[in-house]
């Protein structure tokens, strides 16, 4: 059976400037224009980046407020704060090395996601070593221990800061002991608890502790910090070795050596150790010093 087919009404308006290759060319040019403008906007913003970074952190509301306002996306919000926090850390590490808002960032982060162990770990180490706030770092870790009572990493970090920076060996030993009793903890923690109890603060133990942290992290920024600290340890050990040799020289000969090379020629040391930051050791007023300025060692 044949049915009558009513043709669809055909609308017009298709010809005109949009035929041919012209629209594609214009669209590509449009995106190129947007790209160039975005580059200019970014460049205009970069000049104010430092003040903006600080401003931004000032405007950053408290973690508790964010906890309420991010409803069910707290974990996602924490991830975004983590990225911003790393950006903030990286920016100041490459510029002025002032970390005014670092504690605030990690406080927000752990309020949003109290089980973010990596944030406690990275936050405490950078707060203690880079921002120079070891007490704040330990308080931050204690709040983390309350939220994560079964984590060994957090009390370990607290013990590590107490041992290395605060030289509070009793407290360090307690933290290491707590950490060693947690499931999945490092077997060496019990040994570290004993070392801390014996109050031995030698270079080799410190080096082993830093190396254990290096082996246990995937965080590139933290790895860079550990490498810096290991170099600092090498530097301190080398200066200690040279200084002791100078003292022995002085005791034996009742005078100071003319320069460090005299220590090797006189047989007090086999050779002058290598300066880990690429500088050189020198001798002034009875003290062994390095040419590397402190700003390049931190």
């Amino acid at each position: 059976m044949l049915t009558e087919v009513t043709p669809r009404p055909r609308a017009s308006g298709r010809a005109g400037p949009l035929a041919g290759i012209l629209p594609t060319v214009l669209i590509v040019w449009g995106f190129v224009g947007a790209y160039l403008l975005q580059l200019s906007i970014d460049r205009a913003g970069e000049s104010r980046m430092r003040e903006k970074a600080v401003e931004e952190m000032t405007y950053f509301p408290s973690g508790r407020f964010l906890q309420e306002s991010t409803i069910e996306f707290q974990s996602l919000a924490a991830d975004l704060v983590w990225l911003r926090g790393i950006q903030y850390y990286g920016f100041h590490l490459m510029s002025d090395r002032k970390y005014e808002w670092l504690g605030h960032v990690f406080d927000i982060l752990t309020s949003l996601d109290p089980r973010f162990i990596g944030a406690y770990h990275f936050g405490a180490i950078t707060l203690a070593w880079d921002a120079g706030k070891p007490y704040e770092a330990v308080d931050f870790l204690i709040s983390g221990m309350k939220a994560n009572p079964m984590s060994w990493q957090i009390p370990f970090d607290a013990g590590f800061i107490c041992y290395m920076l605060l030289r509070d060996y009793g407290r360090a030993s307690t933290f290491f002991e707590v950490a060693s009793k947690m499931p999945g903890s490092w077997f060496i923690l019990a040994r570290w608890a004993a070392i801390a109890k014996a109050k031995s603060g030698d270079f080799q133990t410190a080096r082993e502790m830093w190396l254990d942290i290096l082996r246990n992290t995937e965080n590139r920024a933290l790895k860079a910090l550990v490498v810096r600290q290991l170099k600092n340890l090498d530097l301190s050990e080398a200066i200690d070795l040279l200084q002791k040799a100078v003292h022995r020289f002085q005791e034996d000969r009742q005078r100071l050596p003319t320069d460090l090379r005299e220590l090797t020629t006189a047989g007090y040391i086999a050779r002058i150790p290598e300066e880990p930051f690429g500088g050189r050791f020198y001798f002034k007023d009875g003290k062994v010093l390095t040419t590397t300025p402190p700003s390049q060692r931190e």
């Binding site: 308006g13 005109g16 214009l26 669209i27 403008l37 975005q38 205009a44």
Partner: protein
């Protein structure tokens, strides 16, 4: 040509301004701005900041909702009601139709922005906060954002249903506000593929973060007029490109 474009724009404006969704959203925006009065006693000295924050955020959020919800069905509605056949049977080019629809919707958004800003200033007066002209810069930046976002909504409207279009436009809105993180990802990623992809997305997707100057405005922090000018220019170029894509897609559709 401009006569035909303005005829479509005027018709779109007349149709959309009577839309119940628009009226409801504006009333709701004013209600949200007024709710700052409830927060006022709890603000502990930060009343002025909170009232400004709530007001400016409500203006932005509800304008975005209007652009997405009305813009998402602006072309689709004509196709669904088959009025497109009547319009295109007349001497109206398809790109003129798209441009007219866009301009009509932008006119609706300008009226909505003016109404909401007037309500905001009235609320500031009522709550005893001195309104500053400086605050209007945030509204201007929101307008730039709407220039881009409306073009996104119109683009999706040319080939998808209103719901799908609204979802896509919201997705672009969220990603557009996270582009700084895309750039950060590009800078930090060790993988060259991820790096290249992130940079491509950063520059191709609209960077709506350019238009968020609310924190600076509320705190009275200095603004860079050059950056604001560049942002306005960026909005124009980006919207024009999207409208060109919309017109090209619409041109290829069979009616």
């Amino acid at each position: 040509m401009m006569g035909r474009v303005s005829a479509v724009a005027l018709n779109t404006f007349r149709e959309s301004i009577r839309d119940k969704v628009l009226v409801t959203l504006i009333i709701f925006a004013v209600f949200v701005m007024g709710s700052a009065r409830v927060i006022q006693p709890l603000a502990l000295g930060e009343e002025a900041k909170i009232i400004k924050d709530v007001g400016l955020s409500a203006i932005t959020l509800f304008s975005v909702l209007i652009a997405v919800l009305i813009g998402g069905r602006i072309v689709y509605r004509e196709v669904e009601k088959r009025t497109i056949y009547i319009i295109l049977a007349r001497p109206v080019r398809r790109w003129e139709f798209i441009l007219g629809k866009y301009l009509g919707l932008m006119a609706v958004l300008v009226v909505s922005l003016v109404v909401m800003t007037a309500a905001f200033i009235a609320i500031l007066f009522i709550l005893g906060v001195a309104p500053q002209l400086y605050l209007l810069l945030a509204v201007l930046a929101t307008f730039f954002e709407l220039v881009v976002l409306t073009a996104v909504a119109v683009l999706f409207s040319t080939f998808s249903t209103p719901i799908t279009g609204a979802v896509f436009t919201f997705a672009v809105y969220f990603v557009g506000h996270l582009s700084r993180d895309l750039k950060l990802l590009a800078a930090m990623s060790p993988s060259p593929i991820v790096k290249a992809m992130s940079y491509v997305f950063y520059y191709v997707l609209p960077n709506l973060g350019n238009f968020n100057i609310r924190p600076e405005v509320v705190y009275g922090a200095p603004l860079d007029p050059y950056a604001l000018l560049l942002s306005g220019l960026y909005a124009l170029v980006y919207a024009a490109t999207l409208l060109l894509i919309s017109a090209t897609i619409f041109n290829r559709r069979e009616f």
